[in-house]
């Protein structure tokens, strides 16, 4: 089976300083594979600074990895030239976070949508170009009459974000990299955009990499999830399993911090804890809430680049001596792996083989 996209042990290090080099590892040995036959939605989740956006930039070819390779249909995306490069540019599309910043305010929506049509010679005539625009806008749930001929400032954030999706869709992409597409959109419109993304995957066979810090929406759109923390994979697997029964302390912290729109699931209330026990979370010693608070507070204490050992060890309440060594990924079940010595009894899975656990 051919791979649509393959990340092979990709790392990205940002360095600064002229005399004393200070380097920050934004992404540390990440390997992922997307199959070209089975379009899927994969979530990459993590808090700010976890390397999510670096990953998006790498996938889109905006920056080059420090080590490792990114292959698109078997070819390194940084060696693509000429027609291959155009094909890559056409088949890999992006939707960015801020729908207010990505449009040129001087051009109407028609113009914005006609640029890719001209660039990639998608239409032979003006009327054909228009048909394509109408089709794409309709596919994302916009009425073409409402938006064509308008300027970006006349549209709401949700409409603009859907135009972004429509623009990407016109090019018939194989892969859509969506970097926090709903974080700046009203909660009531999020549902519409996520639904649009979900439909794209089903109807048009587009694989989507959904990058977010919002695990609630991730749960709803994605099939698989990769949780990053400071550039390293903490936990990965089937989205249902990971969110309902997180096994890495960091994933637990993320999930505990979600403000669930559920009155019976308030932060730090007993309901959460009982629910979790039922879900089979591992047992904690002492007061769970205190442990959690310790993890939240410890955020400021982590300083510098602990480039060896578990990245989360500075905040982890379960830290052990061996955490100063990089923990490998332990396979917990068919569709879940965690990079944590708490799960040492399980078999180790090589990072390159992580994708085999992810359902499509």
């Amino acid at each position: 089976m051919a791979n649509l996209l393959e990340l092979k042990n990709v790392s990205k290090v940002y360095s600064r300083g002229l005399l004393s080099r200070v380097s920050t590892t934004a992404l540390n040995n990440v390997s992922l594979t997307l199959d070209s036959q089975q379009p899927t939605v994969m979530t990459v989740a993590g808090e700010s600074g976890s390397g999510k956006t670096t990953l998006a930039m790498l996938l889109l070819g905006f920056i080059a990895p420090t080590s490792g390779q990114i292959l698109y249909k078997g070819q390194d995306i940084h060696t693509l030239r000429g027609e291959d490069r155009m094909m890559f540019r056409r088949e890999v599309q992006a939707v960015f976070q801020d729908p207010f910043a990505v449009f040129n305010p001087f051009y109407t929506v028609d113009h914005l949508l006609s640029v890719p049509i001209q660039r990639f010679k998608l239409a032979k005539s003006k009327s054909e170009a228009r048909d394509k625009m109408v089709e794409a806008l309709t596919a994302v749930g916009l009425r073409p009459g409402d938006v064509l001929g308008r300027f970006p400032h006349q549209l709401s954030g949700g409409q603009r974000q859907r135009i972004n999706v429509a623009r990407a869709l016109m090019l018939r992409p194989k892969l859509l990299v969506a970097d926090e597409p709903v974080s700046m959109v009203d909660a009531s419109l999020r549902a519409n955009i996520l639904e649009t993304l979900g439909r794209l995957q089903k109807d048009y066979g587009v694989s989507i990499i959904y990058i977010t810090h919002d695990l609630t929406t991730a749960y709803h759109v994605a099939k698989s999830i990769v949780v990053l923390y400071r550039g390293s994979v903490m936990e990965a697997g089937d989205v249902d399993t990971v969110i309902k029964s997180p096994q890495h302390p960091y994933t637990r912290l993320l999930i505990e911090s979600i403000p669930w729109p559920d009155i019976n699931r308030r932060w730090g209330k007993t309901e959460i804890k009982t629910k979790e026990r039922k879900l089979g979370g591992y047992s904690l010693t002492g007061d769970e809430e205190n442990v959690l608070q310790a993890m939240i507070k410890a955020k400021e204490m982590e300083l510098g680049d602990n480039s060896v050992g578990c990245r989360f060890s500075a905040r982890c309440p379960f830290v052990m001596d061996k955490c100063s060594q990089d923990p490998p990924l332990f396979q917990l079940n068919d569709h879940q792996a965690a990079s944590c010595y708490l799960h040492e009894g399980n078999s180790v899975i090589a990072p390159e083989r992580l994708s085999e656990l992810l359902p499509v």
């Binding site: 808090e47 700010s48 709401s156 954030g157 409409q159 009203d186 909660a187 009531s188 419109l189 999020r190 549902a191 519409n192 996520l194 639904e195 979900g198 810090h213 919002d214 695990l215 609630t216 929406t217 749960y219 709803h220 759109v221 249902d240 969110i243 309902k244 912290l253 993320l254 911090s257 979600i258 403000p259 669930w260 729109p261 559920d262 009155i263 699931r265 308030r266 932060w267 939240i296 507070k297 955020k299 400021e300």
Partner: protein, 334 residues
């Protein structure tokens, strides 16, 4: 500090028939059209609505920070017995921070990058100093107070000597909270205080607000569109739509049994763990304030629209239990 129990009952904020319009070339946009609100000490109210529903205008109007072409056209904002709309500009300067404080949306941008955090905090106290009265505070005392405020938001006191760029987003937001509680205001308005922060930091900031509010017994208005955050944090939820309050309910009732069709759609649109992959967006678009539909502003999107909704705007009705709903489905009972 008096006991929180007795303070709960005292009303600290009353907003009556507040009206704000923006005058644009295309006409008058009624951003707030007669909003009433009452809040007691220690209470936490969530103000939710789509963009353009008037949430932020409401906050700015209460702070009297509406700028032209906007204008406060009527109504009262009574904090601690004083109507903020009628007092002079100088009095309003004093009232900000000491009676009513505002935590803005982008904390990253609200701190001065070239002045130390401590100096900015001291400024706040100095601006409210009145040399003629006896409660004049020395610099040393001021510094002590600022450091206490920083500690109460879980920051180390050496943040006092730092600059904004040395702090993370969550820390900056907590500095803003520390500034807002310096003068122990009666009302704190937090306008999407965590919208730029990730979930873990968000939780930390919200828990900080919760704790300092308890300490000083202030009422808090949390503005936002994240219903999840509301469920976690507030006591009461007010749903705004096109410049009016559609429903005001206790948080539990709002989430379990919303009354107004708009509130119902809003609650239905929320993702949860049970209905994976089901998205219930609210059909239609938020109305443009310049061309509000006649009658109830929500009627073009309402699944239960009736003839009367198109003609005449419903008035707020108080249901048993003190919930306020503005909809013809709930006729006023005599």
């Amino acid at each position: 500090m008096s006991s929180p129990k007795t303070m709960k009952d005292s009303v600290v904020l009353q907003v009556k028939n507040l009206q704000v319009s923006y005058y644009t070339d295309a006409g008058r946009a009624r951003a707030l059209d007669g909003v009433d609100l009452t809040l007691s000490a220690g209470e936490k109210l969530g103000l939710v609505g789509e963009s353009g529903s008037g949430k932020s205008t409401m906050a700015l109007a209460m702070m009297r920070m509406i700028k032209p072409p906007g204008r406060i056209e009527g109504g009262e904002v009574i904090v601690d017995g004083v109507d903020l709309i009628t007092i002079s500009d100088e009095e309003m300067l004093k009232a900000r921070l000491s009676k009513i404080a505002y935590i803005p949306q982008g904390a990253m941008n609200s701190l001065n990058p070239v002045i130390r955090i401590g100096a900015q905090m001291m400024d706040a106290i100095k601006a409210h100093q009145d040399q003629s009265t006896s409660d004049w505070v020395s610099s040393a005392e001021m510094e002590k107070r600022c450091k206490q405020a920083l500690e109460s938001v879980d920051l180390k006191s050496n943040v006092f000597k730092m600059y904004a760029h040395e702090l993370s987003g969550g820390m900056k937001q907590r500095v803003c909270i520390a500034i807002s509680i310096l003068l122990r205001p009666k009302v704190i308005i937090a306008d999407e205080p965590t919208s730029a922060l990730d979930v873990v930091t968000q939780r930390q900031v919200m828990e900080t607000i919760d704790r300092v509010q308890d300490q000083i017994g202030a009422a808090v208005i949390l503005i936002g569109h994240d219903m999840g955050l509301m469920a976690q944090f507030v006591d009461k939820v007010a749903v705004m739509y096109a410049g009016r309050l559609m429903e005001l309910s206790n948080v539990r009732e709002m989430f379990t049994d919303p009354k107004h069709p708009y509130a119902q759609a809003l609650i239905r649109s929320l993702p949860n763990l049970e209905n994976k992959g089901v998205f219930n967006g609210i059909p239609g678009m938020a109305p443009a304030l310049l061309q509000l539909p006649g009658g109830c502003a929500f009627h073009p999107r309402c699944p239960r629209v009736m003839e009367i909704c198109k003609k005449q705007r419903p008035e707020p009705t108080t249901l048993p239990g003190g919930r306020i709903v503005e909809c013809y489905l709930y006729p006023a009972t005599a």
